[in-house]
């Protein structure tokens, strides 16, 4: 039998982090932006242990502050890409409500730091998600187009080609050949 794994990355990551920190006896919480808040004073030694444990699971920590607004935008976009409910809201309303800044401020800050627009970044993330759905969930392009609210398969396929320079079929063939080669 084959099963698809349906999950929300941000929730999954929070659970993984929580499990590690509970095991270490560290007191913590997650705020409304999904940032990890460690309670009290944490020694450098404990911090190094936390960092190392999470690193082994592929999770890295970066200090939250004014400079992390771009990081928060990226996390919010990640949630948007994965959630059908959030995608029903317009991007500008969703981001300004979630982060508490005007959309034009967020948009300018994002372009300045990342050299790409929020809209373009969303397209990039949707294509990354498409890749994952093709490779890990074995979904067809028709299913993915429907899941990610594309008006047609041709639209998704065209956007995929524009972002990667490859058609979805070529992309899949390359990855399958890589896999065969490595096994």
């Amino acid at each position: 039998m084959k099963f698809r794994l349906n999950y929300t990355p941000s929730e999954l990551i929070q659970k993984v982090v929580a499990e590690q920190l509970n095991r270490m006896g560290v007191s913590f919480s997650f705020n409304e932006l999904g940032q990890l808040v460690l309670d009290g004073k944490i020694s450098g030694d404990i911090m190094a242990q936390i960092t190392e444990r999470l690193r082994k699971l592929g999770i890295t920590l970066s200090e939250a502050g004014m400079n992390s607004i771009v990081g928060d935008i990226k996390n919010a976009i990640e949630e948007l890409v994965y959630s059908e409910d959030i995608r029903k809201t317009t991007i500008s309303v969703y981001l300004s409500n979630k982060l508490g800044y005007s959309y034009s401020y967020l948009s300018n800050l994002f372009s300045e730091e990342t050299y790409t627009s929020i809209e373009n970044f969303i397209i990039l993330r949707k294509i990354e998600y498409t890749k994952r759905l093709i490779l890990e969930e074995d979904m067809s392009l028709t299913e993915i187009a429907y899941k990610l609210d594309y008006s047609s398969v041709a639209h998704l396929s065209g956007q995929f080609k524009k972002v990667t320079g490859l058609t979805p079929t070529t992309f899949l063939r390359i990855l399958q050949r890589r896999k065969t080669k490595n096994t």
Partner: protein
């Protein structure tokens, strides 16, 4: 803004192409630190000597003496310390077969060397500015294929 310049490496045996590339890279609005090598072996020697300071992006020509780009790419992908580096093939070949083979053997990006300076500048900017987001996400890196 990022405080550290992005470390970029170019491996190409053609001196004119290296100069052309360096000039174009200098003109884009992102601070970069470029190192140049003449063939794949020189790059591998450098990478093996610089464990802690690996480049964020490698532009690799295919046809070179001593060790060509294809061999060099295979060596990078089979070396546990180097296998996660982002490699952009930078070649004049536009053969579909060549392009697919380099991807199958682990290239992340394939660039057809542009002939015009403005075009080269645009292409490099597209690659360099695009790369940042993949540095932080290991999961995406393995599926990161991009052709210009």
């Amino acid at each position: 803004m990022s405080t550290k310049p992005m470390k970029v490496v170019l491996v190409d045996d053609d001196e004119d192409d290296r100069m052309f590339f360096a000039d174009a890279l200098q003109e884009i609005e992102l601070e970069t630190d470029l190192q140049e090598f003449h063939n794949g072996q020189e790059l591998l020697n450098f990478l093996n000597d610089s464990d802690l300071d690996h480049p964020q992006l490698i532009f690799l020509d295919l046809n070179m003496p001593v060790m060509n780009g294809f061999e060099c790419l295979k060596k990078i992908r089979t070396n546990p310390k180097l296998k996660d580096l982002v490699v952009a093939i930078y070649s004049t070949s536009s053969s579909e077969r060549d392009i697919e083979e380099t991807f199958v053997n682990g290239a992340n990006i394939y660039i057809n060397k542009p002939n015009k300076f403005e075009e080269l500048k645009k292409t490099i900017a597209q690659v360099v500015k695009r790369n940042w987001q993949y540095e932080e996400n290991e999961m995406d890196k393995t599926n990161f294929l991009f052709r210009i």
